[in-house]
Amino acid sequence: MLNRRDAIRGLALAVGVGSSGWAERALAAAPAPAALTWMPTALTQEQARLLDVVAELIIPATDTPGAREAGVPQFIDRAVGDYYEKGQVDQLLGGLARMDADARAAHGDAFVALAPDKQVALLTTYDQEAGVARGQGQSHFFPALEDMVTVGYFTSEVGATQALRYEPVPGAYHGCVPLAEIGRAWATR
């Protein structure tokens, strides 16, 4: 059975970006900063810190910046305050609470205090659980959280212009261009 590292390397190679070695670096991510550098307005400090760590695990810094540098936790905090539906907020907060509870039950410590491999292991559990739940037509907090992070990241300036390609004024349309010349997916349609 493949371990996670192999699985990641395999997928990274499959999409043609594995040779830079960042997949490995991502797994050995630097520990989260001890304190937030921003003030949450809708989330509590604890929720925001946990979100900050989980968002970076979902979209880590690789050859391009990750969710933290893109401001994704702030994006989600703002949307909790003025955009998400109550059901979405409840699911998000329930998910964050569960992550901490699971971390404490398994390792006796808050999620943010765990070593990265333990954090990844917990998220892997949620991801697999979510796969089963979705197959049965049920909602699960983890993919919902991933969606929030994904939207926040790829619509951020960092995500759109560095992880993806963004052209505010293309000037022309060319219908058949080798992908290699463009390199990445377009940020907007």
Partner: protein
């Protein structure tokens, strides 16, 4: 006192009044002012100036207040329960170009999606820009099949005016040389992408009668001197047209017709002016002007002119006629036929097929093409081979191919575990599979009992009566939809696409945003409201040239036809006025 009234009346008197400033109002203003008439344009909504009043036109994705520029559900539910129904009109990028439903009520006896923009330029700012001519068979079909009434004009009557409008607005497109899909005057066509080109080759090999063309769209790809002089430039392939274009790359009233009219020095435009009724002069036997409710001061005012053009959009022009009662017109202005408000038409859509392209994984595209491919109607063209026994008329497809991007695993779009971390991130920064979709736009027949009526019991925010809608799909449309789905899937299968799926997401009348027919043109005043020149049969100095005039719907996007009818009617009005015939 008499003198004062005389002066006030002179101050408010013009050669012509144009009601509405959208795609037809702008064209009427341009044509009438360029032919020397002093014109007052009355617009019920606020001013929108080209360039200055497009607040979201150059916003980047990270500058929105809400995720992906979507509005909170509570705000949509409270203020935009109808405008949101399209799933694309009501976003942070476009909110200011659509009405608040809570302030603009109407009654849905059956569901009707009335998507509106009340401001200078109207929906010419947010339209889909697809620009096709009706074909000769469109103008003949009613008479041949005994449906509704005969159009009082034929293709040849409108052809020079189509060309006149195409030259002014600028249409990019490909000549196809098909009788049932008349070519116009085009700027260079936009390019198909790899998958679309392959689809064209393979599908046409199997179904040669189903021509696949690039969309004909009102974008400048090789602007003329006239267009450049108006301040318009080439399309920049941003595909953010619905926010207003800072380049004037697509045609809108704001960037085109109204600018041309303004430059003649013959136009006065008055926003916030709700025309509540036509004023009928019994003695003269014609309309002498319009009554206006100022949306800001809430005061009534009258304006006078020799000629009046109603270009307020189909249902609002009809509303004005319905609300203009007098002893001469007790049942609505020019409504001896009782056809006013009847024969509501739209294009039914939301049905088609999609599939995945098996090749070109190493190919992509650059630029955001504000246009798709077009498959002109290929059913019931008058020969045995295309004849359908299950329905009349036909449909066209609009569609295109593209590669999915970072949002492809959001929500329910992906099944199972999504994964997370560096691998998923890397995958999402690469384009996903190519998919291709075809969506039908089908003709709806005119039915007298598909109608809007004036509801004097339910008032809007200004205390004005409102409209009530009773419009439903009939057997012909339902049978056509089945074919629309099947034929699309067939073409994708023939072209070797994988995982081909037909879809019918349902359709509610109005969703095509192509409302038509409620003051139709015809030969006989007993069965139609307008004559062959868009004049009200019973009052020749009132012209109606928006969608209300349409005698049948065709299956092609209608704005080009409205504009051609408007330019033709304006020419008629100017000549008739010169002769003293109005």
């Amino acid at each position: 006192m008499a003198n004062l009234n005389g002066r006030a009346r002179r101050k408010n008197t013009y050669d012509a009044i144009v009601v509405g400033s959208g795609i037809t109002g702008g064209m009427a203003a341009k044509e009438l002012t360029q032919k020397g008439l002093k014109v007052l344009v009355l617009e019920r909504g606020r001013m929108v100036r080209h360039l200055e009043d497009y607040p979201t036109a150059v916003m980047d994705p990270w500058q929105t207040k809400y995720p992906q520029g979507q509005l909170p559900q509570a705000e949509l539910a409270a203020h935009y329960p109808v405008q949101r129904r399209t799933n694309y009109t009501m976003t942070e990028y476009t909110q200011h170009f659509f009405v608040r439903d809570d302030e603009n009520p109407y009654t849905e006896e059956n569901r009707f999606d009335w998507i509106r923009g009340y401001h200078v330029g109207g929906r010419s700012l947010t339209w889909g820009r697809q620009s096709y001519r009706h074909s000769p068979i469109d103008f003949e079909a009613n008479a041949k099949e005994g449906i509704g009434v005969d159009w009082p004009i034929r293709y040849e009557d409108l052809a020079p005016w189509y060309e006149h409008v195409e030259r002014f607005i600028g249409v990019s497109g490909q000549h196809e040389g098909l009788a049932h899909f008349p070519d116009g005057h085009y700027q260079p066509p936009m390019e198909m992408n790899c998958v679309e080109k392959a689809f064209k080759t393979k599908s046409e090999a199997r179904f040669p009668e189903r021509r696949i063309s690039i969309g004909r769209t009102a974008h400048l790809t090789d602007p003329t001197e006239e267009q450049l002089a108006l301040g318009r430039t080439k399309c920049q392939f941003r595909n953010q047209c619905i926010r207003g274009c800072p380049f004037g790359g697509y045609y809108s009233s704001n960037s085109g017709g109204l600018v041309a009219a303004e430059r003649t020095g013959n136009m006065v435009i008055r926003p916030n002016s709700i025309v509540t009724e036509l004023i009928y002069d019994e003695k003269a036997g014609k309309a002498s002007g319009v009554r206006v409710l100022d949306a800001v001061t809430k005061k009534d005012e009258e304006f006078h002119a020799d000629v009046i053009f109603l270009c307020a959009s189909a249902f609002n022009s009809t509303w004005i006629l319905m609300n203009s009662t007098s002893s001469r017109f007790p049942n609505g202005f020019g409504n001896a036929s009782d056809q006013l408000g009847r024969n509501v038409m739209d294009h039914h859509l939301g049905v088609g097929a999609s599939g995945e392209a098996p090749e070109f994984a190493d190919m992509y595209y650059s630029g955001r093409r504000p246009n798709g491919i077009y498959v002109p109607r290929f059913r019931n063209l008058g020969d045995a081979a295309t004849k359908r026994s299950d329905y009349l008329r036909g449909f066209g497809y609009q569609g295109g191919a593209g590669r999915s991007t970072w949002d492809r695993d959001l929500g329910s779009r992906a099944q199972g575990a999504k994964g997370f971390g560096a691998a998923r991130k890397a995958a999402l920064t690469q384009p996903g599979p190519w998919t291709m979709g075809l969506g039908g736009f089908g003709e709806i027949l005119p039915y007298e009992d598909n109608r809007i009526t004036l509801n004097r019991d339910k008032k809007d925010a200004f205390g004005l009566p409102t409209l009530s809608f009773n419009v439903t799909m009939r057997e012909n449309e339902i049978a056509m939809r089945r074919d629309m789905q099947t034929a699309a899937a067939e073409m994708l299968e023939a072209a070797g696409f994988k995982n081909v799926k037909g879809h019918d997401g349902g359709y509610a009348p109005g969703l095509g945003i192509h409302e038509m027919g409620t003051a139709r043109m015809g030969r006989d005043p007993k069965t139609s409201v307008l004559n062959a020149h868009n004049q009200v049969h019973e009052c020749k100095n009132v012209y109606v040239t928006d969608g209300a005039a349409m005698t049948s719907a065709s299956c092609v996007n209608p704005s080009l036809t409205y504009m051609a009818l408007t330019a033709r009617a304006a020419d008629h009005a100017v000549q008739a006025r010169k002769r003293g015939d109005l």
